[in-house]
Structure formats: C-alpha cells, structure tokens
Assembly symmetry: C2
Homo-oligomer: 345 residues x 2
C-alpha cells in the first residue's frame, strides 16, 4: 500500500516543507528581486508539468509574472532555442533526471539567465545546472504514480509566491494547508465506496479552470497512469470550443470547482451537462450548489483561499484514482509500461 501511505503522508511532508524551507524561499525571492526578471520560462514533464500549470496562474495573478511553458524539443532535437533575455528559467522535476528539462536550464545559463530548480533531489543533474534550488523535501517517493511530490511542488511554488509578495497573511494561510488535507483524508472510506460505481468506466473528461486547471490535468493523469481510463482534462472554456460535442447520456464528467472567481461559469456548465446532456458527474467542491448536481459529490473543507485550493483539492482525486485502480482489479503499485523515472530528450 505504498501509494495509499504516500497520499496519507502529505500533511506531514507539507508541514515540514513549510517549516524548513521558508527561509530558502525568501532568499530565492530576494535574488529574483535583485535581477530584472520580466517573465518566467518553465520546463517540466508529466506531474511536474501540472505543477507548472499552477505556477502559470499563481505567479501571473499574485506576482504579475507572465509564464511561458518551454517546448523542450526546440532545445534538444531542433537545437534552435528562443532568446531567453530577462527570464527566470525554471525546471521542475521530482528526480531531476530528464535530459530535456536539464538542457533547458543549461541553455538558460548559457544565455546569462537566472535559473531555478524545484526538485526532490538536490544532488541531481537538474539541481546541478541551476543557480537556485528549492528542495521540495518530499522524502523518497516509491510509488510510480506521484502524489506527495506533486503537492510539495505546488507548496514550493506557493511559498515562492508568498515570499515574492512579502505578505504575512499568505504565510498564515499556507500554514493551514496540512489541516485541510487531514480533513479531506477522513473521507477515504466513502471515496473508496464511491469509486466502485466507475468499475467499468473506460473514458471520461475532467474539468477545471483558473487555479484548478492544474487539478483537472493532474486528476486526469492519475486516472490514465493507474486505471488506464482515457481521461481528458480541459478548461471549461476550451471544452466549450468543440470537445463538448463528445458528451452523451451517462458520459462521465469529473469536475473540480471550489468557490472562487471561476465558480459561477463552471457551475453553469456542469448544470447544463447534467440537465441537458444527462452527463454523470463526479464533483469536488466546497459548495452545495455544485455538489448537489453530482451523482458522486466529494466535499472539500470550506473557506480555503482560492489560490491554495489546488494543493487540497487534488487529494480526494488521488484517493479516488487509487481506489478505482483497486476496484478495476489493477495493482496501484505496478502500473504497466511506465517506471518511476522517465528520461526524455
């Protein structure tokens, strides 16, 4: 039960990270302020790429830093990297091993940019190629499917945002995350029961928007890696521009919509999916108006500030994916085809 125990370990790892790395995050923020950083260029793959999606919204909204997600093949196969002047070049990787991510940081350095690695392995090639290293301190992650390294990556990104903002309130809010996750973990048994209903599900879509765009992607990735369900993530806006045509009666739609600025637009969409297209809904939210629409409602603690909801809302999705894996008769510890470290060029 490595996956399950690593999911349950998250409050402790996040609490430690917050305690141990605040000073480092503040020093990194100070160095960033000393440079004329105009934008962020970020390279990551898989789960870490979803953490990058969180950074895209959070650093954009809270720190006004625009963020470009790297296209690593321009650095490796094409050997035609773009000009990175005035960028903070960031690589996120649990293992710090993937050559394409390392090559983006190496090129950033070559062009004289400030470089930052967010990683679980401070002795890795990625950390070695960076000026600044933020250690996510998740401990060894044995399960192939990443869980605690995802939430600690999100926490590291949020800590850097708080440090750049120099806002004490943000640090107080960050301190409440472990407790909110403890509350969510108490729903493990009902979520296990709920997952059985999806024993024969072959495909689904996963919707989120704004800050929780990343949660939709990460929930979908866990479903694909572990349960082999074809799970496609969307922002509700992109979904409306075409893919919504796929939905027919009974089609399963997972959605994550905690209270916040994009709640109303998502609520309107899932209302239509339920009432006009008879979709099947699995919903993670702290709002009764959303939960009451779902065949499978998963409540979140109320009053989480919107910018921190992704760190909490992925946890029930992790539990759901793990339990669905077992319900389908697969072994969550041994996903077929993939290994713990994936090296791509």
């Amino acid at each position: 039960m490595t996956l399950q125990s690593e999911i349950f370990e998250q409050p402790a790892r996040l609490s430690d990270l917050l305690g141990n790395q605040r000073l480092t995050a503040e020093k990194i923020a100070q160095t960033i302020r000393q440079h004329d950083i105009r934008w962020v260029f970020l390279a990551a793959r898989g789960t870490s790429d979803n953490a990058g999606r969180y950074a895209n919204y959070l650093w954009g909204a809270q720190n006004r830093l625009p963020l470009a997600l790297a296209t690593p093949s321009l650095f490796t196969y094409y050997n035609q990297p773009p000009q990175l002047k005035d960028a903070l070049v960031v690589g996120i990787s649990q293992s710090g091993q993937s050559p394409d991510i390392v090559s983006v940081l190496a090129e950033g350095r070559r062009q004289g940019c400030l470089t930052l690695a967010i990683t679980n392995e401070t002795g890795s090639p990625l950390a070695g190629s960076a000026d600044l290293v933020l250690d996510i301190q998740a401990g060894v992650e044995k399960a192939v499917a990443a869980t605690k390294t995802y939430t600690t990556e999100l926490m590291a990104i949020a800590m850097l945002s708080a440090a750049l903002s120099e806002n004490k309130l943000f640090w107080q809010q960050l301190g409440k995350i472990p407790g909110w996750i403890e509350t969510v973990l108490k729903q493990d048994v009902p979520i296990a029961r709920m997952a059985e209903r999806y024993r024969y599900m072959r495909q689904c879509v996963v919707l989120g928007r704004g800050y929780n765009y990343c949660t939709a992607f990460e929930w979908a990735l866990k479903l694909k890696e572990l349960t082999y369900v074809v799970a496609e993530p969307y922002s509700s806006a992109d979904f409306r521009h075409g893919p919504i045509a796929m939905i027919e009666g009974g089609f399963p739609v997972m959605a994550v919509l905690p209270n916040g600025m994009v709640f109303d637009t998502l609520l309107e969409m899932i209302g239509k999916l339920r009432h006009e297209q008879a979709a099947e809904l699995v919903i993670i939210s702290d709002e009764k108006r959303a939960l009451s629409l779902a065949q499978s409602p998963i409540p979140l603690p109320v009053d989480i500030p919107e910018w921190l909801t992704p760190i909490v809302s992925i946890v029930p999705a992790q539990l759901f994916a793990g339990h669905l894996t077992r319900a389908k008769g697969f072994d969550p510890e041994k996903p077929r085809t993939i290994g713990k470290i994936t090296e791509t060029n």
Copy 2:
C-alpha cells in the same frame, strides 16, 4: 457537403492568401522590428489555439521569439493580468468575437504593447482592438468544424515568420504548399475506405511532436467535434511520462511523423507501440519506415521542408475525420452541442 468542399477549397484559399497578403505580412514584420519585442503573448481558443501551438514552435525556432500562451481567465474572471512589457500580444480567432480573447488584446494595448490580430473578420471586435491585422482571407466558413480557417491561420503564421526572417527561400517554399495539398486531396477515396475500419472506435490517442505537435491537437479536435471519439493528443515525450500506460492490444493510436528532426524519436515510439503493445496504428508520414508499421498508412508528398509540414499534414486528417463521421452515421454539417461561434469569458 460543406465540410468536404471547404477541405477541397484549401489550395485555392492558401494560394490567394499568399498572393494577396505578402506585402501586409512584410509591413507587420517591419513594425515588429521597429519595436523592442522580446517575446510573444498569444491568446486563442479551439482550432485557433492549435494554430498558436504552431507559432510557438515556428517563431521560437526560426525567429528566436519565445511565446507564452495566455491564460485568459486571469484577464477576465480574476482581473489580475500579468505584466506584458516588451511583448507582442497576439490574438488568433476566425470570427474575432470571443470576449476573452479580445480582453487579452485590450489589456495588451492598455499596457502599451504592440498588438496583432490574425482573423478572418477584419471588422470584428478582435481586429478593432489590435494595432496590426493579418487577414487570413479564408472566405466564409460555413461548416461548424474549422478546416480552411485552420490552414490559412497556419499560413499567416508562416508568412509572418518568413517576413521576419527576410529569407527569399522561405517564400519560395511557401509557394509550393497549394500543390502539395492538391496531391494529398487525391487520396480522398482511399482515406474514406480506410476510415470504415474505425466505425466502432470510441477512443484513441493522437501523437505528434515538434512542429507537428499542433497537428496532433487539431486532428484530435476534429475527431472529438465530428465523430465524438474521445481522442487525446500528446507530444510523444509527454505521452511517455505516464499516459502510455493506457495502451493495450488493439488500442488505436493516430500519429503524424513526417521526416525531420523528431522523426527518429517518434519512429522508435510507434515501433514499440506496435511490436510490444500491439497497438492499432493510423500513420501520416512521408517515410516508408513509419508507414510500413501502420494498419492504416496515409502517405504525404516527400520533400516538404519540416517547418511547413503542419500546413499539409493536417489535410488527410481532416478528410479522415470527415469520412469517419459519415461512416459512424453522423452528419458532419451538424455536430451536436456546438455552434460556429463560441463566446467564452
């Protein structure tokens, strides 16, 4: 047969666009050079977002301009847009109507950035909010599923790249595109026959990388809009980081891999998918080594320069999606749920 006739119209529209708008593209390039443009911030949805993915690779590799895809909700729902200093702010939209895309350009203008609209409607709100307008001149597109507006958007992006490069060879190469597409269109009948094999397909993945990352996304979008197949696009690198676990015997994989810098890595992956995981392969390529692996091979003309392959390689995919729609008994002119103009905030 509006969809089919618009697919067949593409060589003529692309030829006209190239003839009529070269001077405009060169003037726009001149204005861009007069500004201190360091990077591109691009907003688009649906098919136009896939055109944006092409710009990400092409302008990055050929013009060294890094590109960030906008997160429109930061401009609308959150009202916390990032700093856009030194950016060229680009909106791509066939209709020029979607309020979220318009709001990104309006904010760019407010921050003093140079703004560019790439659109089929020069009287649209998007064009009205831009300093520079590149008219894709596709003529009225009646089919709900975009085809000729996609390839003309790609052509506009490629023309701008050629104009920024001031390289005559690039313009000569662009002139050959209509002829290559004519060659592809001659395969309409065999592609129709091929599509029947997938009459009962419910889900698939679509792989591409580098320049043809956009082709994978656009092929998948046509399948979703028209045939309601759950078609998920990936770069082959992202696919390896988890989702590859979904593939089992007979699982359909569409792949587009013309000769070029990423060909070998994609070939290795589809070889494994075929031999080790017994995947079903539909392959668009100009290379026998790739085509010979496929149950359904779709040949491209040889010797297309890699940077222009996306404008040609999407055409057989459009034909495939249209024919599969009919084979499944659906009406390609009336996709359920979606309309021609989608307005999102």
